[in-house]
Amino acid sequence: MLNVDYALLFSVSLILRYGVSLWPYSGEGKPPMHGDYEAQRHWQEITINLPLDQWYNHTQDNDLLYWGLDYPPLTAYHSYLVGQVAHRVNSSFTELHQSRGIESPDHKLFMRLSVIVADLLILFPAIRFFCGSSLSATALLLAIYPGLILIDHGHFQYNGISLGLFVISVAAVIRNCDVLGSIAFCLALNYKQMELYHALPFFFYLLGKCLHQPSFLRKISKLFVIGVSVIGTFVAVWLPFFLAGPYTTLQVVRRIFPVDRGLYEDKVANFWCTIDIIFKLKQNLDTSQIGLLCIAATLLLSLPSNLHVLRYPTPRNFVMSLLNTSLVFFLFSFHVHEKTILLVAIPAILATSVLDKKSAFQRYWLPWFLILTVFSMVPLLVKDGLLLPTIASTVFFCIMYGNLDQMVSTSSSPLNERMSSPLPVEPNSFWIQLLGFSQVVSLCGACLLTLLHEVYPPPARYPYLWPTLICAYSSLHFLLFLLAFHVIQFSSGVTVSYSKKKL
């Protein structure tokens, strides 16, 4: 029968999502280029009006300089589907050339609903699949995490699809449905190439599981099966482009991995951007040297957590490695957007399912980290006119987080009727107290910076003072978190893999 707990959780999540939808989207009222919203609309226009072999190519009808497609084919197919619906609802939404920059309440409602539908079809089922039949903290946090809501339903993107597929793949792989997991992850990767941030842990975990198989034959056959499913998925997704010819296929690759772009755009809470304040990288090194530096740093720093997973392939290590690897990629790789922090936040939330709920991670590190991820995106969100929903959704999140036990235990037995535990509670150790204290101070600092950013105009000499400070503040914290999360991952030592919850 209907699971009332999940129905309630998802309807509350929908209330939050729809509420944020009412606010402006990126580039609203800002011709000629507008923003991500217009980009998505434009892709609908391109995919339904032009043949497939022109989607990624610069042609007379498809000006790549005006929001050319730069995501893998699954995004293109999705745009095609949404575009078909859009065309039937109101053909002016996707009129070739004519519909550029179209802005109307009806169109906005349509676009916003398309994101909600995507969440309903992919993200919510993914949450349910991951968390099982009884509501857990993981499910609650995934459903109300403000970062994802603000970017998808405010700024306007479809991260719910790629992250939903990612969650499904993690759930499947943990449950030893490796083929399903691999397929789901490949699909996620083919929706947004940024999912590469998660690729290494998947590779090493699956490899590790293969190597732990009892016999050589088993090892090889497992490897083979996974390999086939990965290749099969890629072929299935890319087939139309293979058929259109090598040039078209290569063009897609060129669009997805634009190696000629700079180290970063705008201000990002990234290591290089922060270093740049003191040591001007772009002036002292050329592009290929910078590229090499990024790759080297990223791969080197990802090695520890991934080798750990290879040696001890347990769900706990896998999820922690996902968190650590994606954070390393965020901090040290090339051309990072502030929105990519979502790729780190989601594994962090998933980690609640493999770590003890009374651990320092869930009580201190995680909420601290998640709030800072939202904070790091404040300059972007303010630019979109989303400051109020940011504050509202984040405060709501904090209150819910603070009362997590009450929320989640309501679905359990009457034993939970007692409000306080009968066991004596140990007083917090010095380090825990220090941690709590630092958390509070740090968050006050974040609030202060947000306030200053809003209220106090920067001096003329440093027009980007506040965004830069916000990014530097965030990236320093992220470096601290990187250290802490690595310590947590390695502190488990060798643990046996435990079976996951029932579906």
């Binding site: 309630l8 939050l16 409602l109 609903l113 405060v395």
Partner: protein, 496 residues
């Protein structure tokens, strides 16, 4: 938990700031302007805008106090001539004022929750009951829709009602009466539940241990009179004008959007009989066409306010509605007299509200809240009351849907309604430890989905000759909801 719950809800309300706002927004902006720009002697005479001041004096003072803060947001909203002024800062201020004043409601809900512990006749106990009362009151979807989207201050007003009930639970009769008198002077529609107060106070307070106490009567009387004197004092020279503003009887039997009450069904039956009569009786019966009625384009159900003339069934004058309303209140008032405890008081209060909703003159569909909110307190007392509460509340909130008519709000109201319905079912199930609704009742509630899909979607795609019956969606909502509201009304009576 008081602050955390209030703050969490405030965040959600803040997200819905850019929603549709009804003419009530302009009404209140106008009142801010009137009370801040003019002297007290002109408040009830000012008529530049059609939205004249028609709430009692305390509310006018409330608007006056708000205007002192408003001036820091956007002084232009306080200019009377700026009809329809709604700058971003104005919207921010007005919406924030509703969110902030909801704190009174939170305190009221908290008080009732705490004071319930003292009631001996209450079955269910434990933290789940407390959580249910506080949460279901605070998150009430109907209140959210009417206050924070449509725009009104009902949360603020109901806060006083809850404070009053809370005081009565503690047997602090004078305090309870004070809160109620303040409430009456804020919005006089609460007069409808005054009979319950009258009987309860007379029996429980004035008859101290079965002996009539003159001192208590005098104390109570002076308190009431004092409150009214403080309220109407500054307007002592303009009492007739104030009264005429407060009680405008030119309005019709039914409000624009039919509240799902008895008269809506009455009108429906009348219309049906007329159509049947015309078919069989030929030209004997003349049906007023749309243009007959004062030359306006609207029909009875089109959505405008006007006097309704009934054709087949007898016309209903205002006095008749009062008498009928009062008659239906009598049974619960008698029961209250016989056993004057707090629980019966709450029951009478709810039932008085119910009678006035079903049989009153020019009832707004928003008045459904006057039944739903007090009944939230009763829902934790017994399983039967929990069941009636679920049926009433879910149907009642559904009947508010036509209020939020723009396309954008379709999803708002849907999500709010569904979420609250699930929350209510879950929390009450936890309190009473059993499934509360029968299969038939669940089917009835699910039937609302059909009405919803029809009214919001299918109706627009009908062929032109059917689409002219633009009243059909409203009619469907009203009829369906009336069925729910009336049948649940009849049921509690049966157990007497």
């Amino acid at each position: 938990m008081l602050i955390a719950g209030f703050l969490a809800l405030a965040c959600v309300k803040l997200l819905y700031l850019p929603s549709y706002k009804s003419t009530d927004f302009e009404v209140h902006r106008n009142w801010l302007a009137i009370t801040s720009s003019l002297g007290v002697q002109s408040w009830y005479h000012e008529a530049t805008s059609q939205w004249t001041l028609d709430y009692p004096p305390f509310f006018a003072w409330f608007e006056f106090a708000l205007s002192k803060v408003a001036v820091h947001f956007d002084p232009e909203m306080l200019v009377i001539k700026n009809l329809g002024y709604s700058s971003d800062k104005t919207i921010l201020f007005q919406r924030l004022s509703v969110i902030v004043t909801d704190f009174v409601f939170a305190v009221g809900a908290w008080t009732c929750m705490k004071n319930m512990h003292n009631l001996k006749s209450v079955q269910a106990r434990g933290p789940s009951r407390d959580a249910a009362i506080y949460t279901l009151l605070l998150t009430n979807a109907g209140l959210f829709m009417v206050d924070h989207i449509h725009f009104q201050y009902n949360g603020f007003l109901f806060g006083f009602l809850l404070l009053s009930i809370g005081a009565m639970m503690q047997e602090q009769y004078l305090l309870g009466s004070l809160w109620f008198c303040v409430l009456l002077n804020l919005k006089h529609i609460y007069m409808y539940i005054a009979p319950a107060y009258f009987i309860f106070l007379l029996r429980a307070y004035c008859f101290n241990n079965s002996a009539f106490s003159i001192t208590r009567l005098v104390k109570l009387g002076s308190l009431v009179i004092l409150t009214f004197v403080v309220s109407f004092g500054p307007f002592v020279n303009q009492i007739p004008q104030v009264i005429s503003r407060l009680f405008p009887f030119k309005r019709g039997l039914c409000h624009a959007y039919w509240a799902p009450n008895f008269w809506a069904v009455y009108n429906l039956v009348d219309k049906a009989l007329t159509i049947i009569g015309k078919k069989f009786g030929g030209d004997m019966i003349k049906i007023p066409t749309a243009t007959d009625l004062n030359g306006t384009q609207a029909s009875m159900t089109g959505g405008l306010v006007q006097d309704i003339e009934h054709i087949v069934l007898p016309s209903v004058p205002p006095l008749a509605t009062f008498i009928i309303t009062f008659l239906f209140m009598v049974p619960c008032l008698i029961k209250l007299w016989r056993r004057p405890n707090s629980v019966n008081f709450m029951r009478s209060l709810t039932l008085c509200g119910w009678s006035s909703f079903l049989f009153g003159w020019h009832v707004h569909e928003k008045a459904v809240l006057i039944m739903i909110l007090p009944m939230t307190l009763l829902a934790v007392i017994s399983r039967k009351e929990a069941k009636y509460f679920l049926l009433l509340a879910i149907t009642g909130h559904f009947s508010l849907f036509p209020l939020l008519y723009p396309h954008q709000e379709l999803y708002t109201k849907m999500f709010l309604h569904i979420a609250w319905a699930f929350l209510a079912v879950k929390m009450l199930k936890k309190v009473h430890k059993c499934d509360l609704l029968t299969l038939a009742e669940k089917i009835y509630l699910l039937a609302s989905v059909i009405i919803f899909i029809y009214s919001e979607f299918i109706h627009f795609y009908l062929p032109p000759n059917l689409a002219k019956y633009e009243f059909l969606p409203l009619l469907a909502y009203s009829a369906y909801s009336a069925l729910g509201v009336i049948s649940t009304y009849v049921s509690p009576d049966r157990k007497r």
